[in-house]
Symmetry: C2
Subunit: 589 residues, 2 copies
């Protein structure tokens, strides 16, 4: 067939008048051609569109964004409408089943139409998510949500129409994590290039264990880990590393490597061949250090908590004291985990001083930079990580402060070959030694996992799209917003900071005291009442769906708000809104 026009489209032979440039002259003629040729089900839609519109059927506009009860069962335009019915009438999702899709014979068009329909639902959801008029969450209690929909699994298949309805229902009750006022976790926001990369990753549907099945992704992991090690400051980016399923697992890897480095026989002989070990981390560190110690058979009692100062930083003198104490008790200190960006306060432990102590006592120096590691990409803030280049291993989660879609966590390791020696089991069905390519790219045997999800592509593609300076700008902006918040509330009536001084990360920790509580004389009574304020305000935020921010107690401090900003969609106005909202929801308490 001769090619005519963009995408090979032109007037079909029997489609009426043709002009000399082969462009179709009536919409109907054009769309008849399009229906057969356009990718992604677009053509079918156009045909449906024209034939329906041609019959004068009236449907509402698709411009609205707010969700309401009637969303489920509409076209994704989120207003009550009969679009879906019109689509169904033409495309017949109510007559189609998953078995009609690829690999079914002639399943191409149906597949493209179905996937395009899903994409349209997702695109509408994305637009909504960034709209401040939309709720962050349409909250329902678990039992209520279980009853609002039929979520059960049955023996019989459902139609694709039902599947699309399930997609809409799932999104209706989901948290809009891209929403500019979603501040609840260290991972917030939704990056469009990262999202595109994740869609591609799902489509490639492969596994990181060998070059054979993931050639590009394995190379991109190699390139990216090297770049990250260069940024850490390791000579020529040398060393090792892996992307793992989250910061907790990255930290567990670090502890595993530290133990193996000191006592390689532990791999075969287990902990019975090893003296009683001691690990050290600050009282503000992440719970995954203890979780790792429990799992690895070291035991939580072997994790010795080091005192933190008022702003949450580990006190090096206390570290040294506790190392000496442990040695006196017959423990062998093997692992120190300093935190670069603690979970609650956002504090950066003094890495240089800690590394000196680790060197003195020959202990593995790990930096848990799951939250704060990304600040090394900012020329303005990287000083907070001074000394990280001395680490034996570093956890760094691009899915937090760099807003890479979940999950994306790296463990970087200074010593080459150690991970391989520590974890390899030489499975000969997977890591055949007589393959025809360079086996050093079969990196799977250094992992604890066998199959490993492809987490690299979204980070790599975002890095290409933003450049290092793009990440820097994004990080700097979040820190600027948190400084704005800090300055705004530190002297404001009704607010009290949990610790003094400007926060080092985007964590701003504060109490809000409702007017009726501000002048209470009874300190115990005040504390008791204050403890209940944050949970109530948080519950109201969720019920109104206007914003979400976290709270918690810490040590002897009653519940306070922990505001964190990693969401690139947030602006100064959103910070203002948060404060107004806390005051609106809390004034009667």
């Amino acid at each position: 067939m001769a090619s005519h026009g963009f995408w090979g489209l032109g007037a079909p032979e029997n489609a009426g008048d043709n002009t000399s440039n082969q462009s179709p002259t009536t919409p109907r003629a054009w769309c008849q051609a399009a229906a057969q040729k356009l990718p992604g089900g677009i053509g079918s839609k156009l045909c449906a569109l024209l034939s329906v519109a041609g019959e004068g059927e009236k449907t509402p506009e698709p411009t609205s964004t707010k969700l309401d009860e009637t969303t489920v069962g509409t076209c994704g335009c989120n207003k009550p409408c009969n679009c879906l019915k019109a689509t169904e009438a033409t495309l017949g999702f109510s007559d189609l089943y998953s078995t009609d899709l690829l690999p079914a014979l002639d399943g191409d068009l149906k597949t493209m139409t179905f996937l395009q329909e899903v994409v349209d639902i997702l695109l509408a959801y994305i637009t909504e998510s960034f709209d401040r008029e939309t709720k962050v969450i349409d909250f329902h209690y678990p039992n209520e949500l279980l009853q609002r929909n039929n979520w059960e699994l049955q023996d019989e298949p459902e139609t694709l129409d039902d599947i699309l309805i399930s997609c809409r229902a799932t999104l209706k009750y989901a948290i809009k994590t891209a929403h500019p006022r979603y501040f609840n976790q260290l991972s917030t926001g939704l990056d469009m290039v990262g999202l595109a990369a994740d869609w591609l990753t799902s489509t490639a549907n492969t596994n990181m264990f060998t070059y054979e099945v993931a050639p590009v992704f394995v190379l991109l992991e190699y390139v990216t880990l090297k770049k990250m090690r260069e940024i850490i400051g390791w000579e020529d980016g040398r060393g090792d590393g892996i992307f793992s399923p989250g910061g907790a697992i990255s930290n567990m890897y670090a502890m595993l490597l530290a133990r193996f480095k000191m006592f390689p026989e532990v791999k075969e002989k287990g902990m019975s061949s090893v003296p009683r070990l001691a690990a050290f981390t600050s009282e503000h560190s992440h719970f995954s250090i203890k979780k790792g110690a429990a799992a690895l058979g070291i035991g939580t009692e072997s994790v010795i908590c080091i005192k933190a100062d008022e702003s949450g930083k580990m006190i090096p003198a206390d570290l040294e004291r506790k190392i000496l104490e442990a040695k006196q008790k017959g423990f062998v200190p093997f692992f120190v985990s300093a935190t670069a960006g603690t979970t609650v306060y956002g504090a950066f432990d003094p890495l240089i001083a800690i590394s000196d102590i680790c060197k003195k006592y020959q202990v593995w120096f790990h930096v848990d930079g799951a939250w704060g590691g990304s600040l090394i990409m900012s020329r303005k803030h990287k000083w907070k990580l001074d000394g990280v280049e001395r680490a034996n291993s570093v956890t760094w989660n691009p899915h937090k402060m760099m807003a890479v879609p979940l999950q994306c966590s790296a463990l970087l390791v200074r010593e080459e070959g150690l991970m391989q020696n520590c974890n390899q089991m030489h499975a000969c069905y997977l890591f055949q030694q007589d393959k025809h390519y360079d086996l050093s790219y079969d990196t799977g045997d250094k992992a604890l996992q066998c199959g490993r999800h492809v987490d690299i592509f979204k980070l790599w593609l975002m890095w290409r799209a933003k450049g290092t300076i793009g990440f820097e700008a994004q990080i700097d902006k979040c820190l600027e917003l948190s400084e704005y918040l800090y300055n705004k509330i530190k002297g404001r009536e009704g607010y009290e900071m949990v610790f003094n001084g400007k926060p080092q990360h985007t964590n701003v920790c504060f109490w809000y005291l409702p007017p009726g509580m501000r002048y209470l004389e009874d300190k115990e009574e005040k504390k008791k009442r204050l403890h209940k304020v944050a949970p109530v305000i948080k519950a109201r935020m969720m019920e109104y769906g206007t914003t979400m921010v976290s709270y918690q107690p810490q040590g002897d401090k009653v519940n306070f708000f922990r505001m964190v900003i990693s969401n690139p969609a947030a602006t100064f106005e959103d910070i203002d809104f948060l404060i107004e909202e806390i005051e609106r929801l809390g004034q009667d308490l």
Copy 2:
């Protein structure tokens, strides 16, 4: 604004003639309206299309599927063409950067256009992947692939045009895991509903740790795990479980729970409080059992290998003998892992006999059904798992035989509450006890991970789309194909089966002897040469890109092919093709 026509489209006020039914009468008028109203950037594309086509520009057809060297830099149609240039001219991706996308002000349309462009690339890739005329892989050696593209990460951002080029390049060199002739791993194929669900999961971009941030997904995990436990045969579906990042981690969880159940003090005190432990698994079991033992501080020497019979099944009498031996040596037997579907032979250990021994010696009975667990969904094949209902824990990977996109692995646990007790650390910044909803839905503290990827939605949505009977049909078909393969080659000249008898799973293990090797008298020489056959044929398969199948040695057996079928796209003809291809590529060896 009044609504007119489907999707609210109609003729704009200045767009020429209107008919009484408000449908546009010229393509250009129609498309001008469409450009402003259509979701997903489709409208812009149409405008681009018409204005280009209107100027008589000639471009080739989009119907081709085969990749060639010129793909990178074209429109995704995979033929040398100037489509992209045409698109660029209109949509200007070469002038756009990621900072122009949402959350940028007025970033909606650009975002939709960009994401739609990515989706079009993905849809084209999907169509291609199912086309037998397309290569499974466009293979290049690592160093060559590193040089074929610029994969480096820079300081400066790239344009969205460059980003799209990177997406195309990545897919060009990727394995087409959906391809009907891709048999390389236990996880093959690409399910369209599963893919749609994974795209939605990426878009929701949240985390499984609390109900607060993943209300629907947490409920769906609850519903699905309960259903899976019912199928296992546990009363009323009671018990516990979790979706973990793969079978290796699921098995590690099981070992961790078994240890904790017997010695709960290990959590605080570590292995020094515990006697020397012994775990038992067959010599054909997956390497993750040893990997787990190494990580948990138990040590690989404490994993005692039980003899398997000729077809790869654990010999119960040897298990009992080795348990007694271990006890005599002072070890405490704590864990038996039976395999339901071994990695290489696809053998099912005799679960009932093994469970009797576990009961007798009061040892935790784990079933590693990562590969074979799914057969329980088939009325025809579930007998192979008889006894699984007696297990204390079961690993079951829907991402293998059920063709759910990677990753999707479940660990099911009989005893309620044990996971929570074993792993919880009560992080008060995440699992606040004064939340306003039922805290039993905050399931994160029973995980080893902190953040946990949402792996549930693709399984749940596929289950809704297929029903249990749909999974059953898919599984039965794969087993039918493997039986066809077995019958075809068992008496065929030049083939030798690695073990006698019909395989229990889809694994068919065989040697192919090229004609020149068949009548060699020197058995050692024959063995030596045969060992090299499979690697060479495999390398040639990859270089031609026609198919991919795995091979390995096992024990004293030289390299043999391990064919496995989990790809729902495969047909009898693909099996025929595989045999022809092995013979074509191997005849000269």
